[in-house]
Symmetry: C2
Subunit: 192 residues, 2 copies
DNA sequence: ACCTGAACACCGTTCAAGT
DNA sequence: ACCTGAACACCGTTCAAGT
């Protein structure tokens, strides 16, 4: 297969995925049909199935790119001055932007992954990368706290940071009860 | 409508809901069809639609009872000796039992609620009750920390406890990375 | 009064026919 | 080589006909 065709194929895949994401953002995962994606993309049902094996495969492609976006954010946060775990989480949770993927879609994909092993594998890969980025970001902090085994402390801390951020995002997607600052500050009081 | 008929109707609803829950636990929300519930219950499609307005209404009924179960747990935890927030969360997160509802179903309903206002209302009601139970449970602790406005501290703390527990359950439903004790202990280190 | 199950519009997916 | 869109099996929901 010549290179030009491969590039064209990738462009087609992204064209379909972009159209699908627009429909997903409007209607959510469970209420999005192939017919709607066909209409939004201006292509045909056959064209979608020539580029993705099925609807779950298309969803996986989209979910992967959405979680990738958040990974970019945390890498940026790690590069900033903050090395304290709470400060790093504050950057991630407070991050805004026009291109921010809808948090309820992340939650819907996360829930779907409990029943879709392939999707689970994709998200596990992303979360593992996120955890590694957290661990690297807080390593300087860990060195000031446990000079004997700072790497182990950073790893444990990174895992808990993932869980803490998940809780916040899960909550905000549905209820939006708490601002990041209140969440982190009250948590500090609670654990003191 | 005579009372006997009303009781019979309620029994029918629970018969259908119980059958549906068995299918849901096996296959998950998105892969469960009315046809499967018809087969599992031994009734007909018409009987289901005579007792629930549609599939979403049936799901709402089931989700409500599952979250109710967790509420019972936290009320029990509140009645125990523990008044420290971390100890109360430890009881909730470590609770086991044969009748424990599958956590991935809770997560799937939570995600669905971001697109279903009626389901959102049901879950909001349950979470508000959970938050109130938390607030009551930690009030003695709050009095030892802030004698001026212990109720306000208890409320803020309860909100954050909800978010912290959500994060843990969201994580465990898919990854199962962390034990409750490690999560709570490392969080303490992280915020110190 | 309640239940049955065939019928309906729509869903995800396929594949013969086109270009 | 890739796309189209009618066709297929199955989905959620309804409702005339039964008991």
């Amino acid at each position: 297969m010549p290179r030009v065709t491969e590039a064209h194929r990738q462009a087609r895949r992204d064209e379909i995925a972009d159209a699908a994401l627009r429909v997903l953002a409007r209607n959510g995962v469970s209420a999005t049909s192939i017919a709607q994606i066909v209409e939004e993309s201006g292509l045909s049902a056959g064209a979608i199935y020539a580029n993705f094996t099925n609807k779950a495969d298309l969803a996986r492609y989209i979910a992967s790119s959405l979680f990738e976006w958040r990974l970019g954010r945390i890498a940026a946060a790690a590069a900033e001055q903050a090395h304290d775990p709470v400060a790093v989480m504050r950057v991630l949770l407070s991050s805004t932007g026009v291109d921010r993927p809808p948090e309820d879609l992340l939650l819907q994909f996360w829930a779907e992954a409990t029943r879709d092993p392939d999707l689970k594998e994709v998200l596990l890969e992303k979360v593992t990368a996120l955890r590694a980025a957290f661990a690297q970001a807080v390593l300087p902090w860990a060195r000031t706290r446990d000079e004997a085994a700072p790497e182990a402390l950073a790893d444990r801390t990174a895992t808990t940071m993932v869980v803490l951020c998940q809780g916040y995002l899960t909550n905000r997607a549905l209820l939006g009860w708490v601002e990041p600052d209140q969440y982190l500050d009250t948590a500090r009081t609670l654990f003191a």
